[in-house]
């Protein structure tokens, strides 16, 4: 093998980063792989567009077949995004026996299992480290580093946009809309922020993480999702007062054979390792039965961090090529999936209510909860400025989601309850 040829799909921010790293680290790559690495052909939408990196026009093409069918190209790097068309391209590449490195979490969350099977059938590697938490080598750590452990819990701050927004809201007491606008101006949030702020982006990453960590085929539909759009300054103030930090947390929890995967705004006890993860940073907390608590922290996005993960995967593929062992790294899920029912999901909950400030109301409320076996760890009651109303903040002890939600339904029927203002999951520092 005199040199390894790469085909690149997409030359946006990540693609430009990949080109830069491969050029700047050529000597290190040669040292690690044993031969030069050449970026042969790049698929773009517009050949004449100005770009962040200088690339000769002859290497650019708008015809996917020139990349996917080129017999000299050994590895395809996919950083163009998108789902249906991109999937078609990758299937074509795999059938042409090209190894693949992708940063596409949407594609992997939806069609990962299918693509990995095709890769394996064609003796090709398909690596996707960059799809989750850009600069953090978390997938490799789950597969290799913790190989001999039984992972029972993963908690992730896996979306930088929402963590940036929540950090600023908590720090400056600002309103959600104002911080979102700032994030959009700084380029931390997109013009249409829906996928980020509604939790969908995080859910895709949790589907990928839990599939690997639990060795179970977890689909995107298995992940319960709630975003951050409803969080108010008020909630954050109470959180602080009670010793919590609000984060959008992806939780994947396994007990026995049953699992629960969700993404939701969560109040973390301040001593939790994830509570100090600020701004646009990402972190994944992993609890293994043997190893105990570990955490992986780093940039979740950005041109160079994501490109670094892509090139690390590329090095892995190239080593496997030289060893003649591509296509053997895909690990088929070992366990059958059993999702927990709401009656089997245990957690603490934070609840904020507006009630009529009348005699006996508090007793009415607590008796509904105690009928369902839900008891309280913390209680705050404050008069509201609105005439005749009081604000009640409750933090429950561990309770099943079923019991908690059943209580909320009955609470809504109470004459004295004006509104249920907010309700969040609460996570302590100790693992269950």
């Amino acid at each position: 093998m005199e040199e390894i040829s790469i085909g690149l799909l997409g030359l946006g921010t990540v693609g430009s980063g990949v080109v830069k790293i491969i050029e700047n680290h050529q000597d290190k790559l040669i040292h690690q792989v044993g031969c030069p690495v050449k970026m042969k052909k790049i698929l773009v939408k517009d050949i004449n567009k100005e770009r962040a990196v200088q690339v000769e026009q002859t290497r650019l093409t708008t015809n996917p077949d020139e990349v996917l069918n080129d017999p000299e190209i050994d590895v395809i790097i996919e950083v163009m995004g998108g789902i249906d068309e991109t999937k078609k391209y990758l299937k074509q590449a795999l059938r042409n026996r090209k190894n693949i490195v992708t940063a596409n979490k949407d594609l992997m969350a939806l069609h990962g299992a299918e693509l990995l099977t095709i890769a394996s059938e064609n003796s090709c590697d398909l690596f996707y480290e960059a799809s989750v938490a850009g600069g953090i080598p978390i997938l490799r750590s789950l597969v290799d580093g913790l190989a001999s452990d039984r992972i029972t819990k993963m908690m992730g701050i896996v979306n930088g946009t929402t963590n940036f927004i929540l950090t600023k809201m908590a720090k400056f007491g600002s309103a959600y809309e104002d911080v979102l606008k700032e994030a959009q101006e700084l380029g931390y949030a997109e013009a249409d922020p829906t996928a980020d702020v509604e939790g969908l982006d995080a859910a895709r990453k949790m589907a990928i993480l839990s599939t690997l960590g639990f060795s179970m085929k977890i689909d995107l539909d298995d992940v319960k999702v709630k975003g951050i759009t409803g969080i108010t300054e008020n909630d954050l103030e109470y959180a602080k007062q009670l010793g919590y930090t609000m984060k959008l947390i992806g939780i994947a929890h396994r007990e026995g054979e049953k699992v629960e995967i969700s993404v939701q705004p969560t109040l973390l006890v301040e001593s939790h390792p994830l509570a100090s993860v600020q701004d646009e940073f990402n972190a994944v907390y992993v609890y293994g039965e043997a190893v105990g608590e570990t955490m992986f922290y780093g940039p979740g996005a950005g041109s160079l961090p994501t490109a670094t993960a892509v090139v690390s995967d590329l090095v892995g593929v190239m080593k496997n090529m030289r060893l003649g062992v591509t296509g053997k790294s895909a690990v088929t899920p070992q366990y059958k999936k059993h999702l927990k029912k709401p009656g089997e999901i245990y957690s603490k909950y934070f609840l904020r209510l507006h009630v009529k400030d009348e005699v006996g109301v508090f007793a009415e409320i607590t008796s509904i909860f105690s009928e369902h076996g839900v008891s309280f760890e913390k209680i705050l009651q404050l008069p509201l400025k609105k005439q005749g109303l009081a604000e009640i903040v409750l933090v429950t002890h561990q309770a099943s989601l079923q019991d908690y939600e059943d209580s909320l339904v009955k609470l809504r029927d109470l004459h004295a309850v004006q509104t249920i203002e907010s309700s969040y999951r609460v996570e302590g520092s100790a693992n269950v």
Copy 2:
């Protein structure tokens, strides 16, 4: 390959953990490796000793040759510790073409290069993830995960004992000796704590980390070491007041072709990711030019965390065996080592002095520093209870170690300077 046979050297806390994990995770191991794994023979000092795990006596031996020369054994796991005799055993094993997994940081820091060469000559793997920061897959992350980046800085809390002691001292304002005693009673510190509290244990780990991270052969002697025995409650109080946290930090810093590696008590700005690492936990902060800031956090020691790392390495070896590619993973250092001179090491420093409380003293002190080009970011002066003395606390701007130390030498000659109470490196949150 119908089954893979293991030989174990040592059945102490880590060894017992390894036996437990291999027994409890047999199905997962078979799934990952494709064949059963058998612990065939275990070298112990005393066959009749009571142990934390049940092992049939027939599998125990006091004769190393029965393990090292057994033709059926494919992999040797070394968790007996020690240096000279252990090295002899491992060389013998490698010459018998047995792959090795070791948790022995002392041995790897001193003789790693030699052993890795012998391993490579005999087409054997030699893995040692467990030797640094037990439960954290940091070596694998450096070699694989950040493969395409240029790492310029690593900072590690890599000794749990000292981090436990410093955490307790800071939290409860206790004296060093009292907390050390508590740590010994809890089993976090050994009866002879020298290697931990004097920084030697951390230095060994930093030698291993910087060899890998910088791709340079760093020897233990290249690491400048200062321990925590001189730290007083006073220092910690001032640290807190100025917004710092005191940690024993291993620093490996590369600028251009030159590197600096040290272990020393360091004042960290509280927003630094390492500042919130509490108790006996370990963490390694890595700065790569492309990826930016990342951090790996987890338990640094303990039977099961360390055993987990050992078994993860074992899985790696066994996969390589089945692929027929053992002995190819050792990466020979790519760069020649150039150590920085004191004039090339730049940092901020914290200095605490007792001086005579006389007119003009402060001007005398500051003029010495300014003659050497050292200026100050923070200054505190307080009267002392001792008659006629004042306490001065200074934090410098970035200065070269040479200039700073030259200033200290002149300071000692000043008539008005009673004592230099303490001096520590200061690290900010921003890199470089």
